[in-house]
Amino acid sequence: MEHLAIGFQNVLTPGTLFWVTVGVTLGYVLGALPGLGKATGVAIAIPMTFYLPPVAAIAMLIGIAKGSAAGSAVSAILLNTPGEPSSAPTALDGYPLARQGKAQKALKMGLFASVIGDFLSTLILIALAAPLARYALLIGPVELCSVLLFSLTFIGSLAGRSMLKGMIAAAFGVFFATIGIETETFIPRLTFGMLELDDGISLVPMAIGMLAVAEMVIQAGNMRNLDREAAEIDDSTRPEDRRVTLAEWRRCLPVIGRGTLIGAVVGILPGLGASVGSFLSYGATQRSSKTPEKFGTGMIEGVAAAESADNAVVPSSFVPLFALGIPGSVIAAILIAALVLHGLTPGPMMFIEQPQMVADLYAAMLCASGILLLVGYAGQRIFAQVIRVPIRLIIPVVLFLCCIGAYMNTNSLFSIYLMLAFALLGFFARKLEFSFVTFLIGFVIGPNLELTFRQSLQLLDHDPMRLAAHPIALLFGLLTVVTVVWIGRSNRRLAAQRSARPRAGTDAPAEQSHT
């Protein structure tokens, strides 16, 4: 608590607050633009924080993540095109509200629900991460290896529609993480004689290429559709259509509470992601409503449910990152690079070695929630105009920023080549539905997985029977197998249902692939 008070003193300075505000504003704008999510924003911005003090730098990146999580509701409500997949349920009721001329009301409720969900979930992170980390310190390499393997399998199985593709992507991520000089024998691996690869592939150009550049190529291909949707936005001038009424607040507050809880739980479990949280919350709200049939036609509760859960996922997804060093989401994976760069290695030891830095981070996260409310409320009309900007004007700006971000990582063209190579890989991964999220998480987990695996081999003396002395490792090994079988079966059932529907001749109007 004492650390947290000092943390607020460190964060509540004009300099840090300025960079948090810049981060939140930038994130809000990026989130509002379809396709440019929080991960893209953070990946591009990491190199720009090289020259900022650690607290300001991390606070700015967290501001971007929080801002874009909230901003993605703007395009979902106004364009029916979610800025991120997790805002898709927001569009189900937000877009009908916008078509009725109640866009301002929907945007405001989206913002309030986002801020409340985000703030409460940050408190959950603060309450849970440190106690969990204490338990994490008790586990050894064998247990950690099995936990990492379970997390990666779990994430790979859940990402996208195909478990096989998710796991192939995860294996590729681990494989790319092995490039560079091996730390035990100092033997270069797959460097092809290039000195630039001796330290391995840097996460920053890789993430920028896979997330941002690849997305821009896809957006360039889909340019006409996006511009046409932006031209069809309508807005009412009636005051009651532009604000959230007291009656609506009464109906929405319990919905926001439930959404926050669902989002926080989903965030803590590695790999489920914000989309699962927002859809679960939307579904739970619809089921508990007295008028479930009205959902999808412009129910404000739908917006509140989806946005509160979507934003609650972001802070709580840092729980496994802070407590165990395991990134539960792509944003957490990318933030690892930023945290390490600024002197904070995520994992249980950071609570012992750098408690003040952790407290600064918590204080920055709480301040970012408040700034998100101010920036979002004051700038809502402006942000709503951002999505009217034709995508052909946005793509060159993003590509330019990507190049600067990648170049600054090593101050050499090699980073740009890496960025372009991974952009191409990201383009094909997206089109062929191989999860680039799993790939990136595999890449981030890779070195730790390899290290603990090697240590486990030595500790167990290459004898699997000695695993009997490690019940936690056995439990997670079993969980890995159960997860693969269970998710594999449910995926097969879903695929069979999908292929059976058209054959049976059902018209299945507007079938939406929510899961």
């Binding site: 720009m48 090289f50 020259y51 900022l52 195909s162 096989l164 593709k165 796991m167 192939i168 294996a171 590729f172 681990v174 494989f175 092995t178 091996e182 035990e184 024998t185 033997i187 270069p188 691996r189 797959l190 460097t191 092809f192 550049v213 821009m216 190529v217 896809i218 360039a220 291909g221 889909n222 340019m223 052909r392 004007l393 793509i395 060159p396 700006v397 590509l399 330019f400 190049c403 600067i404 170049y407 600054m408 101050n411 063209l413 740009i416 372009l420 383009f427 089109k431 062929l432 539905e433 191989f434 997985l449 390899e450 695996f453 090697r454 081999l457 030595q458």
Partner: protein
Amino acid sequence: MKRADLVSGLVLAAFGVVMLAVVIPAQIEPAPDGYVSPRLVPNLAMIVIVALSLLLVLQSLPKSEETPKAGTPVFFARDWVALAKISGVFAASLVLFWLGSPLAAGAVLIAGTLLLLGERRPVILVGMPAGLLLAVWALFYKLLGTVIL
């Protein structure tokens, strides 16, 4: 998508086999005595990739009772056009960078992309590159006080 899965599964399986048989042995030396082989994890990752890719191929093979379907197309002409345009702009920009003009490289990247994506207004074509380059200069060289090139 099934046909795309079939092709991508075959390509990935072939890639994995080449990596296992040729690239990894050629590019990673064996470990000295007493050490765990540095080839171990790359090999394991590739074995997993080959195995899963073959499963993907098997899963994507049309069943005998099914009539072969073309499936939903994955790539459209507009995707290839966009990829070609953006690749072209990056290539031109990199050439200019090699020739020693990072400023021109940046300007070409922005103006070239604008032009290829259909922007024709001279004010935008000139103003946006100039404005962005100026903004980056102001941010790094003035506000943050650092040199990036």
